[in-house]
Amino acid sequence: MNLEFTREELEFQQSIRDWMGAHVTEDIRRCSALGEMPAKEQQQKWEQLLGKQGWLALTWPKQYGGPGWTATQRYIFDLERAMVGAPPTSPFGVAMVGPVLYTFGSQEQKDRWLPGIVSGELLWCQGYSEPNAGSDLASLKTRAERKDDHYLVNGQKVWTTQAHWADMMFCLVRTDPAVKQQQGISFLLIDMKTPGIEVRPIYSIDGHHHLNEVYFTDVRVPLNNLVGQEGMGWTIAKYLLTHERTTIAGVADSRHEIARLKRAVAESPCSYDKSQAWQRIAELEIELMALEYTNFRTVAATDEGQPFGPESSGLKIKGTEFQQKVSQAMVELGGMMSLTWDNQKTVGSDIFNRATRRYNFLRACTIYGGSNEIQKNVLAKMLLGL
């Protein structure tokens, strides 16, 4: 048992902190300070900066461009990243399609796509959900028909984050409608510039455009954009779910938010009942400790080669609920200062003025990536052995 970082880890932490101090410029950290989502340019600037440093594809094996860090080092990096107010990196390339490619892809596919992901130049989006396949992914209908040297794709995806930024989409499509639900699904890579693709924005209640609908009409996709074999889509999708989830609970960002909340309370006028506010924050901090130490345990277990199973789903459930709780506290402790729609500076603490944007945005975090109810169903199966 040892709850402290080793001397080497502390040195590593310091070196990361120094680097962040030197490289995270005001425009990169600005968004998180304002509760904004970064624009494409800022996000890409930040990711390419990390890519240049070799710090983007953190979990990847060294041979494909990973930095060769332990899970603890990755955790430390994430902590420092959040504390300095830099945004999380987009998961679609680095955490999702990348591992799929180096695990299931052909040599040609690896050579073609991995370098762009490692450097942060190639942006991806994820084509999973469809209008009638949300939690129930296996019922998806987007069709990819094999025709000579290509697939002909027709159908619709929805809730596609950053589709309007992306160069490429990785996508679940139905290649065989005759077999049972899960079996006819394949994993396909689609160039977003291919004719026949239409991306329509969805504006969400935080006032942002990050989601999209994507329509495919006779979109031609080369056969060698298929990953693995036809019908392997479901296997690949499940593999992704078991991939490292040590940052899934958003603990580093919750810690950052609580720090901001404390700042906002400290700078608020004294008409305000601060002792009530500090107690509410104390309750949040106590809950954060439980999350953090559970997260530490998953990290330590990963470094010992024994990654957590159901525990990490538990962490996702708790972590997302906690993010919502912190953001709700921020809105409520802000009182009238929080009554803004447009995330604009009105009066009093900036942090409170901009609190509702994150609160609204985070309503989705217990829904996407498998709603918490679905996560609980899956956990129950594992626990009850049904």
Binding site: G134, S135, S139, S204, I205, N360, I367
Partner: protein
């Protein structure tokens, strides 16, 4: 005891519902979101024709002598329809404040308001004083006011602001033409318009002073109880609409080959929403009667309790409505997210939950 609405109240509520159905819609709401001046709309004069301007006020003031309950039923329908017309902020709130003051100057101004000649708004808050309306930060310096008022709801639509300020330790209510001040306008969380107001050496003449001292404090106490009840009414309209929509959605949305309403967990979520909504309805009926009680203790107790309860349970219903809707619930295109914001907004006006519970606890009997 009797919980059936009086016939004329039912009539008022039905009329409001029909009127909104014929003259308002989610599309109209989305257009209104982008507009800065709501009072240009033909609806504004229609509302006056329907008698809503006079409804909240005693016949002796030139009104129609409606009860808070009547007004609450209109406001409930406005909430259920997401309607942004600033009926409460530009008619009810300033009008009731003037009526509670009851001086000659106040009565004259109230008559103008009822006739549609004067457009008023209340400037009671600033961020330094927070919810403590009896101790505003705005202070007289001789006959001049310098400082700020914040969070004035729909204040941009008014010609005249009813402003509270301290002269020494005495609370003064004055009517200040908006054009004498600088304003910062912004869209509030529920889509309505708010202004922050900057006073730079504004000279307050004797005619601008409506009342001073205890009478202002008392009137503010009565006003807050009245407005908290209307906050509840508006949130009830929204929460009830959310419940209906979510129930309908659970009956038609399919996942895994069945409707999501067939999952036991979703069923229990819906039952919890239903039960909470029942209790919210009880609290609304209670506060709509008691918040205009002449008994100070009863009035405060009712209005603090009801709003604190709403800030907890209506907010929870709004959160669950989104969770059950899933992705579609967080989009701008669906009304669900807009009701969600309305309820968040309503839970923070005239006291947040902690402030109200504390006030209630201090009301020892």
């Amino acid at each position: 005891m009797e919980f059936t609405l009086p016939e004329n109240t039912t009539l008022i509520a039905d009329t409001a519902r029909r009127y909104l159905k014929n003259n308002y819609s989610f599309d109209a709401y989305r257009q209104q979101l982008e507009q800065a001046d709501h009072l240009q709309s033909p609806r504004w004069s229609l509302m006056q024709e329907l008698g809503w301007f006079g409804l909240p006020f005693a016949e002796s003031s030139g009104g129609y002598g409606g009860d808070l309950l009547d007004v609450a039923m209109i406001v409930r329908e406005l909430g259920a329809a997401l309607c942004l017309d600033p009926y409460v902020d530009v008619v009810v709130a300033p009008g009731k404040l003037l009526e509670f003051i009851g001086s000659d100057a106040a009565s004259t101004m109230l008559t103008q308001l009822i006739n549609g000649q004067a457009r008023l708004a209340c400037a009671l808050y600033d961020f330094q004083a927070g919810y403590q309306v009896l101790t505003p930060s705005l202070n007289f310096n001789g006959v001049r006011l310098s400082g700020q008022k914040h969070f004035v709801p729909d204040g941009g639509h008014a010609d005249i602001l009813l402003v509270t300020a301290l002269n020494g330790s005495e609370l003064v209510l004055c009517a200040v033409p908006l054009k004498l001040c600088e304003t910062q306008r912004y869209r509030a969380l529920d889509g309505s318009r708010m202004v922050n107001v900057l006073f730079e050496d504004v000279v307050i003449t004797d005619e601008m002073i409506i009342a001073r001292g205890e009478v202002v404090e008392e009137a503010l106490g009565r006003l807050l109880a009245y407005l908290r009840a209307l906050d509840c009414a508006r949130m009830y309209g929204a929460a009830s609409a959310l419940y209906q929509r979510t129930l309908e959605y659970a009956k038609i949305r399919k996942q895994f080959g069945v409707t999501i309403g067939s999952f036991q967990v979703i069923q229990h979520y819906l039952v919890d929403m239903f039960i909470d909504l029942q209790q919210l309805e009880s609290m609304l009926l209670m506060v709509a009667i008691k918040a205009e009680s002449t008994d100070d203790f009863q009035r405060q107790r009712a209005s603090l309790a009801a709003k604190a309860y709403y800030a907890d349970k209506a907010v929870r219903i709004a959160q669950q409505a989104i969770q059950i809707h899933g992705g579609i619930g967080v989009t701008e295109e669906l009304d669900v997210g807009h009701y969600f914001r309305l309820i968040t907004h309503g839970s923070l006006t005239h006291g947040d939950r902690a402030h109200l519970v504390k006030g209630f606890a201090e009301l020892r009997n």
